[in-house]
């Protein structure tokens, strides 16, 4: 028995290299398309080329005649199966029956009409082209405001007004606030439709074992357990006979937080043909048929006193839902409403949401899901107010922030902000950027006729989703920790990371709590037959909720190990730390591995203690967490072409405590890149007839390395009291903070020309037109 023990360094807060990387960096990680099953068939989905049409008939004879075609399924085959599920429970919500395949009509370009199954994917694709669908095109509407206009084509004939729901939320007394106001600023602000574009598209393999009557579904998803429950429901099969496995997942950003028709279809087809069947989405399909994000038209009114005190906000929010509800489609704009007050103290909010059907692919959660729209709105409005009152945008924010001593803070929309010190990141960002100096330089540049802008955004977001009351399927997360007889540790997490690095973060937590080397820890996720039920990874919840569940499971496990240690040392006074149990009196110790062996060999057991070392914890968070931060952007606009150059990008994010700076930096940079994408380049464009014009990567301008500015990123750390780790969540912060800061900066640059607002994306053409307009 060892007597001198050196306590290992804690890993919490350390820039530890990622455990995931060796397999990713060598190309040996297995993503969905890398999996092959004996006898595997391949499916290709026939999709509607029309935004709206009646299906008069489908002729599959030519396709069936192609050698190698095994089966073809059309709408008629799946009429009796369940619908693609929507988990929203908004009162009065109109829910169109979302069949797995189109029945007598198609509602958007990319709508699945038939599935062709062949012995290889080339045959399946060729045969898909041979399926003759007789369409009778009907009028379509792709713009949510046009869809609301009288006489617009009805997306679903049964609801001619195209309204899926109205939702109202109110806090305080907005009417009174507006009566008291000295100034009211009003603006229509859009958050354009975006295409999430994970570099790996979606994909599914379904394997049916006829003998066992069991089905294994491999899917590139963020929510394996929910997928299992819901697909079992669609197929009417017992949930325990369905197993969902997520292979390596090549990015999701919300687009794989869903249950898609193809997932249920492949499961069904595998049973029907009694062969494994694989479907991998092409990039163009991904653009047409995987959910899009955003799609807001917002009408804001902000009331304030002349000294800059904000009194209240009114909002009419028009949400482009697309043709159907996917899992959370209608929920997203309600999240926007929740975050409408931003970081500010005003207590009066009145919001009306109308969810509108359009002949487009459904919108749903995309990185930020509702919060970027809210932040963009309020942060733009605050800037417009500052412009109106000739106040400095930093000053007006500082004046209206919730004070550091007011937490927990109850908002007008019924939330309780957990902790914060909102002025801190703003001051830090301003200091780092040299705000005063920047303003002086701006004045000098303007005197030369140059268009230089400085933009701020101070954002707040709602993370770590969330208490179960707020999430349809529950908001907790689960973790199991197993110490194996050899002393190695296995973690089973209900979270389903796909790039967030939680195999590393979680191993850090385990290493710290148990005192074992990180390399002895294996984090397993994404297999419903191995991992207890979980909710999944989205809404910046993986570490804050999943990590907390793990933390508590570790406490249970430690308590049990301590009992073994105490028994082995023959004393009650033991300390468990650094991988040892130590007799406080004598300094004698037993090692982690020795305790593990004792627990499994079970020759002798502590009182009231079972053999084995396994602990499971389901953790329900008492509240959300509310990260916040400040982004500051300096831009210059080229007068001749309207091109924008980002000269400085400074961001200070407060995401609570930081477990691994390497991973956090990556999330911030990646998040900012997506925010920049929205601010400057990206837009899903449907034309009048509902064709997706930006239907391929050439036309959908993703951020490229050459266009990324140098990001000066730092943090303040205000721990969250909500969870034992003090973390808040970082997956979406960069995206949420970015776009308003960029737009505020460009508007500031153009403000000498009288520009007050510009909708995203800030394409050179838009900017150029504004400059030209001012010239004329």
């Amino acid at each position: 028995m060892a007597t001198t023990i050196t306590k290992p360094e804690t890993l919490f807060g350390k820039r530890v290299r990622r455990q995931e990387d060796p397999r990713l960096i060598t190309g040996t990680a297995l993503y969905l398309d890398d999996l092959k099953m004996p006898g595997m068939h391949h499916a290709c989905v026939v999709r509607s080329p029309h935004a709206a049409a009646k299906i008069r008939g489908i002729d599959t004879s030519a396709a069936r005649a192609l050698p190698g075609v095994a089966a073809i399924f059309t709408g008629a085959d799946v009429t009796g199966l369940g619908a693609v599920p929507c988990a929203a429970s908004i009162p009065g919500l109109r829910v169109p029956h979302h069949h797995l395949l189109a029945q007598d009509r198609v509602y958007y370009v990319g709508h699945p009409v038939a599935v062709v199954v062949g012995t290889d994917r080339y045959i399946a694709r060729d045969a898909a082209e041979l399926v003759e669908v007789d369409y009778e095109p009907t009028a379509a509407v792709a713009d949510p405001e046009k869809a609301l206009a009288a006489g617009a084509p009805a997306v679903h004939p049964e609801w001619p007004d195209n309204v899926a729901f109205n939702f109202h939320q109110e806090g305080g007394d907005t009417e009174e606030a507006f009566r008291q106001a000295d100034v009211v600023v009003r603006q229509r602000i859009t958050s354009q439709r975006l295409i999430p574009t994970s570099i790996e598209t979606r994909g599914v393999i379904a394997e049916w074992r006829a003998g066992e009557r069991s089905l294994t579904l491999h899917s590139s998803t963020q929510i394996p357990h929910l997928l299992r429950t819901l697909v079992a429901g669609i197929l009417g099969m017992p949930e325990n006979l369905l197993r969902v496995i997520t292979p390596e997942v090549g990015g999701g950003f919300g687009s794989k937080l869903n249950v898609y028709a193809e997932e249920a279809l492949m499961a069904y087809i595998a049973m029907k043909i009694n062969k494994p069947v694989k479907w991998v989405e092409s990039r163009r399909e991904n653009f047409q048929a995987t959910i899009h994000g955003r799609g807001h038209v917002d009408y804001f009114e902000l009331a304030a006193l002349r000294d800059g005190t904000i009194l209240g906000l009114k909002l009419k929010l028009i949400q482009d839902l697309g043709a159907y509800h996917q899992l959370l489609t209608p929920v997203i704009p309600t999240l926007s409403v929740l975050m409408m007050p931003g970081l500010y103290r005003f207590k009066n909010v009145n919001a009306d949401v109308v969810g509108v059907f359009t002949n487009c692919v459904p919108t749903d959660a995309y990185r930020g899901a509702g919060r970027p729209e809210a932040t963009h709105g309020i942060e733009r409005m605050v800037d417009m107010l500052a412009q109106e009152l000739k106040m400095d945008p930093a000053e007006i924010r500082l004046k209206n922030f919730v004070h550091a001593d007011e937490f927990p803070y109850g908002t007008a929309t019924g939330l309780t902000y957990d902790s914060g010190d909102y002025a801190k990141p703003l001051h830090k960002a301003m200091a780092e950027a040299g705000y005063e100096q920047l303003r002086r330089e701006q004045a000098a540049a303007r005197a030369e006729g140059r268009l230089v802008g400085i933009g701020l955004s101070t954002y707040g977001e709602i993370c770590a989703l969330g208490p179960s009351i707020a999430l349809p399927a529950g908001g907790w997360e689960s973790a199991t920790v197993k110490v194996e007889p050899s002393g190695k540790v296995t973690v089973l997490t209900g979270a389903s990371p796909h790039g967030q690095g939680e195999e590393t973060t979680f191993a850090q937590i385990v290493a710290d709590e148990l005192g074992v080397p990180m390399d002895d820890v294996l984090v397993v996720h994404g297999d419903t037959a191995v991992v207890q039920y979980g909710i999944g990874t989205f809404g910046s919840r993986g570490t804050a909720v999943g990590g907390s569940a793990l933390y508590y499971a570790l406490q249970d496990l430690k308590a049990k190990m301590k009992k073994f240690g105490a028994m082995m040392l023959g004393t009650e006074q033991v300390n468990f730390s650094g991988g040892y149990c130590v007799d406080e009196a004598t300094g004698k110790s037993v090692t982690f591995a020795e305790m593990a062996v004792a627990a499994y060999h079970a020759k002798k057991l502590p009182a009231n203690t079972e053999p084995g070392l396994v602990a499971t914890h389901f953790w329900e968070p008492p509240n959300f967490t509310f990260p916040f931060g400040a982004h500051l952007v300096v831009t210059e606009v080229d007068r001749e072409t309207g091109a924008i150059e980002i000269k400085r990008y400074v961001c200070v994010d407060d995401i609570g405590r930081i477990i691994n700076p390497l991973i956090v930096d990556g999330q911030v940079h990646g998040g900012v890149a997506q925010g920049l994408g929205q601010a400057l380049w990206e837009q899903a464009v449907y034309d009048e007839s509902g064709q997706l014009v930006s239907g391929e990567l050439t036309d959908y301008a993703l951020p490229r390395a050459s266009r990324m500015p140098w990001i000066e990123s730092s943090h303040t750390e205000t721990p969250s009291p909500v969870n034992p780790l003090g973390v808040k969540g970082v997956g979406e912060a960069g995206t949420i903070g970015c776009s308003p800061a960029v737009v505020n900066s460009v508007v500031d640059a153009l403000s000498p020309l009288g520009v007050r607002h510009i909708d995203m994306p800030l394409t050179p053409e838009k900017i150029w037109k504004l400059i030209e307009g001012a010239r004329a």
């Binding site: 290299r17 990622r18 995931e20 060796p22 397999r23 990713l24 960096i25 060598t26 190309g27 040996t28 398309d33 890398d34 290889d120 994917r121 080339y122 045959i123 060729d126 898909a128 082209e129 041979l130 994970s198 570099i199 790996e200 390596e248 997942v249 090549g250 990015g251 999701g252 990039r283 796909h498 790039g499 001749e640 072409t641 390497l662 991973i663 930096d665 990556g666 940079h669 990646g670 998040g671 890149a673 997506q674 464009v685 034309d687 391929e696 990567l697 050439t698 036309d699 301008a701 993703l702 951020p703 490229r704 390395a705 050459s706 266009r707 990324m708 990001i711 394409t763 050179p764 150029w768």
Partner: protein, 487 residues
């Protein structure tokens, strides 16, 4: 290893495709080196099978499909090529390479890098800097960086992050990847370094019914004359996209890569002649006296990955109205040499583009080279796109103004892409400028002529109004930049 080749082109076609095997008389010509091991391309394979599909069917999971259209770089692999007399690693988009084009060549995938069990320095640097999140893009980045790491003459400093300009990542925001590149130093003196001491594999001839790579111009002309279905492929960056995404079937692909006449770079006192099948990267290496504007132009053209395959011949022959090659070469007053059954002719480039995607090339004719007269005049190139680099132009413009005594314009060439169905020169505006004094007034008159003659279209990349205004404001911008430079 048993391997079944996907024996059909990846297609969306409205009729059943007959499997069109390469059906070759001499299968020995269809061997290539893959990660140091000889592999054969099955003769039953369709020539439209991509190198990417072949690799993945072999169980190599490193290269991945992210788009099949050359945009994302997830499919990046490295080839050993000759570059201006030096052996180099060239990263390419394997999704746009027709498999038989790899015959006789030497290809490395990410699987070769850590074959010894420990990570390659490039991989280690990516790990150290957090360069991977979901990992889907990662092997592609690694391969681009690998090629950069071993670039001869790079020295022992940092790697250039721009070398990864053809790779998209949606997770990292690129910063850690850039840091990984900047942290690298000299390439290790390992087997990969030593490989570059030996010559690159030659590009060998292949003859078959459905894929040919003739070794001479005459052979090539004979094939084209004989087979009406024959279609020239050069770098394949346009044709590959047509094959993968538009479902075009090419019954007989004829690669011009092995024809010496198309791979020349000659500079004489009178002209510069650039072989139509030289890749843009090869031209960059060969053209030592290129004007600065050429390098700027090149930087704006697609991505480094595409430039390693894309050729000038392909760019002109495809005659895209928004192609970047034409405006640049039009402003240089270039001509093209065309070979056909009846001999060779030279056509001024401004007479080459006849109509939308229609050129002066007759059936069975080959574009052999591009000729730029000397002295090469000063020239500027502008490209306006959503993202300036690596993007399709909304409009492209190239201007060349030669001034004589007293700032009198002796020659003016104003060339545009994206303003008409064909790339063109605005002769009316040129005429106004020629002979005038190079001043604000002349430029304004030229702009008026531009406004009166160009008729761009509107699409989602830009409205007609914006394009027309840009065509003028770019000329103004050029004028101001000239005056600033003169001050």
């Amino acid at each position: 290893m048993l391997y079944t080749c996907p024996n059909r082109p990846k297609c969306h076609v409205s009729r059943p495709l007959n499997a069109m095997p390469i059906s070759i008389s001499d299968p020995a010509t269809l061997v290539f080196q893959l990660n140091g091991e000889a592999v054969s391309i099955p003769a039953s394979c369709s020539p439209q099978t991509t190198l990417l599909d072949f690799l993945r069917a072999r169980g190599l999971t490193g290269a991945k499909e992210g788009c099949a259209e050359g945009e994302c770089g997830a499919c990046t692999v490295v080839m050993v090529r000759d570059l201006d007399g030096r052996t180099v690693y060239r990263p390419v988009n394997s999704c746009l390479m027709f498999l038989p084009m790899a015959a006789g060549q030497e290809v490395y995938t990410v699987e070769a890098l850590a074959a010894s069990g420990s990570l390659h320095p490039v991989q280690q640097s990516m790990v150290d800097h957090g360069g991977s999140q979901c990992g889907y893009c990662t092997p592609g980045f690694v391969m681009s960086l690998f090629a950069e790491h071993y670039r001869p003459g790079r020295g022992d400093g940092a790697c250039d992050p721009h070398s990864m300009g053809g790779n998209l990542c949606r997770c990292t925001g690129y910063r850690p990847i850039r840091d990984a590149a900047l942290a690298l130093t000299a390439a290790p003196p390992d087997a990969f370094s030593r490989r570059l001491d030996a010559p690159a594999p030659p590009i060998t001839a292949i003859a078959s019914a459905h894929f040919s790579r003739p070794a001479t111009l005459d052979d090539c002309l004979a094939i084209l004359a004989r087979d009406p279905d024959a279609r020239i492929v050069s770098g394949g960056t346009d044709l590959g996209v047509e094959s993968n995404l538009l479902g075009r079937a090419f019954p007989h692909l004829v690669s011009v890569e092995a024809i010496p006449d198309l791979r020349i770079f000659h500079e004489t006192a009178r002209e510069i002649e650039i072989g139509a099948a030289l890749t843009l990267s090869e031209i960059e290496a060969a053209w030592k006296t290129a004007p600065a504007a050429f390098t700027e132009w090149l930087d704006l053209f697609a991505s480094p990955l595409i430039r390693n395959r894309a050729t000038l011949g392909g760019n002109l022959a495809t005659a895209s109205p928004i192609g970047d090659g034409a405006p640049f070469l039009l402003a240089l007053d270039a001509a093209v040499r065309i070979a056909g059954a009846s001999g060779t002719r030279t056509v001024p480039l401004h007479e080459f583009f006849l109509d939308y995607r229609k050129t002066a090339l007759a059936r069975a004719e080959i574009l052999v080279s591009i000729v730029i007269p000397k002295p090469v005049p000063p020239i500027v190139f502008y490209k306006v796109a959503k993202r300036r680099l690596d993007d399709i132009s909304t409009i492209a413009a190239a201007f060349s103004i030669t001034l004589g005594a007293a700032s009198r314009v002796t020659a003016a060439r104003l060339a545009y892409g994206g303003v008409a169905p064909v790339p063109l020169r605005c002769i009316q505006a040129e005429d106004i400028l020629t002979g005038s004094t190079w001043n604000r007034r002349a430029v304004q008159q030229a702009c008026a002529a531009i406004a009166a003659t160009l008729r761009p279209i509107s699409d989602h990349r830009g409205s007609a109004e914006y394009r027309l205004a840009l065509a003028q404001s770019l000329l103004e911008k050029f004028f101001y930049e000239c005056s600033e430079a003169a001050e």
